[in-house]
Amino acid sequence: MRKGLKFIFTRVALLLCFLGCERDDLCVDTPVTPFLIITFQNDDRSLDVKRPVVRLQVTLIENNKPFFIEPVSTDSIRIPLNTLKDNTKFLFTRNVGDANEANIASDILDFTYTRKDIYVNRACGFKTLFSDLKVNQETKNWIQNFEILNTNVNDEPNTHIQLFH
């Protein structure tokens, strides 16, 4: 009798321990919605070299929201695409805050794509993958040209678009 009760009791205790370990609610180390990866190339395409942009800021047109906290000087960036719309329009500005205002230049690029929402797991929920990526360059002040290297924006860390300046 006592033995039996003890047996059950330890089982119950074990089970309570089990239930105490809640599932991991954090979505970490799992690829979620991918970024659009852009690299900046020298305008002279025969050179085929990267050319960093000085003090670059990328701003979302619809609400004037800057993506970088501070302007960055870099030759490649990762920016998010809007997962609720079929296009995202960004303003690319270089030499932000330059004393010589003539150096500051901006161009508008409109990225259009097809979205697909895919289930990841319990903690992360869904992610969006993009395909049929197209670019519509609306102005040409400093970005001379572009080339789409990959029309699918998925989890691969490869460049999707090259911008020549």
Binding site: G4, R11, L15, G125, K127
Partner: protein
């Protein structure tokens, strides 16, 4: 979390109740020595109280389960549970509602040696479980590495019917006769999923009868408490009963 605490409270009180009644019965028997043998065979039917409690206190849950067992031999019982569940999981990332009916069937083995006149069970058991259910994606949001675009809840697009799952279950528990033919009991169980069919491009976050699924294993665990009524159908006289009668001590352990 509060639901969990409530459930545990209820569970602990039932457990205490059982312990107390066990104690009381031991004393009763010693004093009265009713000499009623545990030789009746019959059907025990009842209700899962945990599911009823949870239905009352949890806004996101509705469940009902009939439990039953039939005594086959001295220690072996055929046992089954028939139930229905509707469970909503509400989460920032994914919200779903699962509903369906299920049947579990198997055996319980009584490992408890009763004092004379008592018909309690400490049992270990095995079940095969089966369910057909539907799963609706209520809402979801898109996971992003940063919050440049604010996260937004999107209404779900599908309601998948005709899903099925099979599992096996090991359990252990108590059934204690608290009044004549009235039993209170509880059990703890571990379930191991064998097959499930998932909605296209999605997952089953909850399976009726089986419980909450997880991303990293096919196991789930559960506990239940229940009330049941025993309907004796016939008696089986043990062969040795006559010989034993003369030398029978007042308190005897049945084998």
């Amino acid at each position: 979390m509060t639901n969990l605490i409530r459930t545990y409270n209820c569970f602990i009180s039932v457990f205490l109740l059982i312990c107390i009644s066990l104690q009381a019965q031991v004393q009763d028997t010693i004093v009265n020595s009713t000499k009623r043998r545990n030789d009746t065979y019959g059907l025990r039917v009842g209700l899962d109280l945990k599911k009823i409690t949870q239905t009352v206190f949890d806004d996101y849950y509705r469940g009902f389960e009939i439990v039953g067992d039939y005594r086959l031999t001295k220690k072996l019982y055929l046992a089954a549970e028939l139930g229905t569940e509707e469970k909503s999981i509400v989460d920032n990332s994914t919200s779903t509602t699962t509903s369906g009916g299920y049947l579990k069937a198997g055996v319980d083995i009584n490992v408890h040696k009763n004092l004379i006149g008592m018909r309690n069970l400490i049992f270990v058991g095995f079940r095969y479980g089966f369910t057909t259910f539907s799963q609706k994606l209520d809402r979801f949001s898109i996971a992003a590495e940063n919050s440049f675009f604010p996260s937004q809840q999107i209404p779900g697009s599908f309601d998948q019917k005709g899903l099925t799952a099979h599992w096996i279950e090991f359990l252990a528990g108590l059934k204690v006769e608290v009044l004549d033919n009235l039993f209170l009991g509880f059990s703890v169980s571990v379930q191991n999923k064998i097959i499930e069919n998932k909605p296209e491009g999605f997952d089953n976050l909850y399976i009726p009868g089986f419980g909450t699924t997880n991303d990293f294993s096919d196991f789930s665990a559960g506990f239940n408490y229940f009330i049941s009524y025993y309907i004796p159908l016939y008696k089986k006289k043990p062969k040795k009963a006559k010989e034993k009668k003369d030398s029978e001590p007042k308190i005897d352990l049945e084998k």
